[in-house]
Amino acid sequence: MLSENQLKNEREKGVPHCKVGVVKDMSTWRVVTPVIDYSKCIKCLTCWMQCPDVAYKVVKGSPKLISKNCKGCGICAEHCPVKCIRMVKK
């Protein structure tokens, strides 16, 4: 049976209260990173739409990478209709 102090220590040590939307940094999983050539980008948002990991956000109609969500799968580069995304080694 944990004492009040022990419980307090547990809470401070490693059992944080879960916050919705707190995410892990997935950039450590990547081997390659997508890079958009905005001069060619037609803002069709296919990359945003097809990203399985919500690694793009749309800012003023233009897709922007959320680096800590991207695992480097390459689906965006594969399906960009104007092929303006390159998968670059980190």
Partner: protein, 300 residues
């Protein structure tokens, strides 16, 4: 009609940064559920890959999420739907469970919920194996696919020998008011189906094809493409059944199955005669469907 630019203005219901595999289409399916249904949605999950996307202290869900066990997403959802009904609250109750849970261990519960016409949307994310425990064979594994409990060996050159259950057809016969198949590689079709389902009262079922990178052994950047090619080759018919009336939503171009089979490492062992068998089966399936005999067609 789905307008991408309109969707981009809405808030996402899941965040990134989950433990899902690189390129995983099951978590993509969940993202599409959020896009289609909005924030008045509660998701009930059965044990599978998606369970680990909400592991204390991390959760990616900005919507209520409930986990119970592997075989009871449907019965838990029954309780959730009735609990909200008893309190007069209008909420989309969605089950997001894998094919192992839906087609095998949880089949009784799903059948029960369909029969009772409980007001839930049941989505089976179908990657044709028990992915979370390491890719074992399930009742949704297609013929000749390799899994770790239907492996290729000296005495078995084929892999899985049993044809899969046709879940959408079964659920339609079981009493679902709306039963459909979909694919994450045709996201607009899936979103439209979800929005349609949310307006119908009763048990709605969607069998969602979600390619699995470590189970199918596909290159991560081809994860979206492989799903599209499976639908385009006719191997995964996309249709909807409303009160027994069938509508084929995507007419496949019938591209050769060998093009998509060679993208998947789980079919690496196939020789010409096995590929021929699969091609013949898919061709026959569509001939039967196109001649108006949908209910007599045999799924690959």
């Amino acid at each position: 009609m789905v307008n991408v630019k309109q969707l981009a203005k809405k808030k996402e219901l899941i965040t990134g940064g989950t433990f899902a595999c690189t390129g995983c289409q099951a978590i993509y399916g969940l993202r599409l559920v959020g896009m289609a249904l909005g924030k008045d949605t509660v998701i009930i999950n059965a044990a599978g890959c998606m369970t680990l996307t909400a592991t204390h202290p991390y959760t990616c869900y900005k919507t209520p999420w409930l986990f119970n066990a592997i075989e009871n997403a449907a019965s838990t959802a029954t309780g959730v739907a009735k609990g909200f009904e008893a309190q007069g609250k209008k909420v989309n109750v969605v089950c997001y469970a894998g094919d192992g849970s839906t087609s095998e261990i949880g089949f009784g519960a799903v059948s029960g919920a369909a029969y009772r016409n409980d007001n839930i949307i049941y989505i089976c994310y179908n990657n044709g194996n028990y992915a979370n425990t390491g890719h074992q064979v399930s009742a949704e594994t297609p013929e000749y696919a390799r899994t770790l409990t239907s492996p290729i060996g000296k005495k078995n050159k084929f892999g899985n020998l049993l044809p899969r259950k046709s879940l959408a057809k079964l659920m339609a016969q079981n009493g679902a008011v709306y039963s459909a198949t979909a694919s994450t590689s045709y996201p607009h079709d899936f979103i439209e189906k979800l929005q349609k389902a949310s307006k119908i009262k009763g048990f709605k079922f969607i069998d969602l094809l979600t390619p699995c990178e470590p189970g199918w052994l596909v290159k991560t950047n081809e994860m979206f493409k492989v799903g599209k090619m499976i639908v385009d080759s006719g191997m995964w018919p996309v249709y909807e059944i409303e009160n027994k009336k069938v509508t084929i939503n995507i007419k496949p171009a019938m591209t050769p199955v060998k093009d998509v089979l060679k993208m998947q490492g789980r079919y690496k062992h196939l020789n010409a005669s096995m590929i021929n068998y699969i091609q013949k089966k898919v061709k026959k399936e569509w001939e039967t469907i196109n001649s108006g005999k949908f209910w007599e067609s045999n799924d690959y």
